[in-house]
Symmetry: C2
Amino acid sequence: MGWRLAILVVGSVAFDAIETPSGKRDRCVGGAATYFSLAASYFTPVRVIGVVGEDFGAQEEGILTRRGVDTRGIEHVSGKSFFWSGSYMKNLNEAQTLNTELNVFQSFSPKIPAAYEDTEYLFLANIDPVLQADVRSKMPKVKMVCGDTMNYWIKDHSENLAKVLPMLDALLINDGEVKMLAKENNLVVAARKVLAMGPKSLVVKHGEYGATAFFSERSFTGLSGHTPFRAPALPLAEVVDPTGAGDSFAGGFFGYIASQPALTPAVFRHAMFYGSVMGSFAVERFGTERLQNLDKSEIEDRFALFRQLSHLE
Amino acid sequence: MGWRLAILVVGSVAFDAIETPSGKRDRCVGGAATYFSLAASYFTPVRVIGVVGEDFGAQEEGILTRRGVDTRGIEHVSGKSFFWSGSYMKNLNEAQTLNTELNVFQSFSPKIPAAYEDTEYLFLANIDPVLQADVRSKMPKVKMVCGDTMNYWIKDHSENLAKVLPMLDALLINDGEVKMLAKENNLVVAARKVLAMGPKSLVVKHGEYGATAFFSERSFTGLSGHTPFRAPALPLAEVVDPTGAGDSFAGGFFGYIASQPALTPAVFRHAMFYGSVMGSFAVERFGTERLQNLDKSEIEDRFALFRQLSHLE
């Protein structure tokens, strides 16, 4: 795979404390950019921009570098790394946040290493939309931008978010976020309203039910006004830890696209499936454990399982 | 289509009063057997066993007979027909029952016309499991039995329901019912527990997210222990009235199976898609309005849309 196909992800690199019905971890490396990077690393070279504190050392960074992720964009500053603590004891489909300590992430000001300036694929993970827009504006060679956001930015920073949405080729959010953003309960109507806010496509993640992509009428070679496309999720007998499933979906989705010569409808469809595949791996173990040690044949086997699950022939 | 392929459905034929965000109907012909019959009638001959009161006349029965449904098994007795009143104003995904008047349905004792005794396909719609078992036992020539149930029977009539489950080739219920029946929150584990109760397959309906089929290890030519199969639902911009969507799914599903020479994995998969297709039509208009006047080309066009929605190629 060529170096020109690298994806740059900007987002959180963090420590998580997680409890689920399957057990708990007091401290594991997490953050949206971490999950995204690991999932995407099976498809294409990945570069990360983030910030960590003194508690994030060579051992932690090794989780990314062992997968070939370029971590030169991870800034090390004094203080503690972003820390999140969550529980899935009451509902495996929705984290209950017990504690959030922004720490060094509070004053995160993304700096783009010179070596990253030729990046053509950019993923704006869930961070302040002001920072998302800032990073985008500093990357003139970018060909395709995907992004995420969350209820906090939708509710209280909607004006800033509105400036980011038109920059996106694909917005990847979940059902609840789509409906909140559109102020509309029907998914299809909500999707149309969100597309009218600017993104060329919208990938709605339904958790255990898969994901649906909607396409705007605006310029998007081969995909403008395309009918929706739905990818299934794998019915799993045990979800050990749902943390990072959405970011892993995004990593598989965008990583696959970046590995392909052109974005055709077929590539978009396959990317949805690879997103679901990487999400299904992520939840099988705590934190990023499963995403650290996959091999390409496991990914292809699961892709085949998804096809078998959902296809008529 | 040959007469030997007729499906017999036993269940409610009723009047419904429905209000949804799209409007209301004070009185329309409904009931599980009605929705099932209309949906299945596009695939194979259908026979109905049910009971109605004096308020159900030739005009009402015409809704079924115009679709070629054999209504000789609908018993007319003195009194009023089953009446249900429901609202979807608060939640389009779940009816709020405002009123249920069982009326003549309270003492429903299914009688099988001699002309129905050669039926090979039997659908036990959502009625008292004692009646379901009774009908099954009186149909010695039946080759395949599918059935439905609901929370009321699961909670308060579980011993009777336990006698019906082993009679079923396919149990068609929704997510909540599967989890309630299995006393288990994970869908895959719950599905395994339900299959251990006796049905050879389990089709779990996920509403707007489609449906998933699980297969037991027990004798079921070509399908024993098969990997799960998931069919999508169509993302619809307006759900006018969700009433009967599940029964319409069952009608399309079983109607398609009965129209085919053998139950292969491919037939089962196509049946899941046709179930979703008929469910998607049902919700486009109030009551059975949309199901009364479809033509085969509309069904095939929508089937193609479902394939396009969900398939990689």
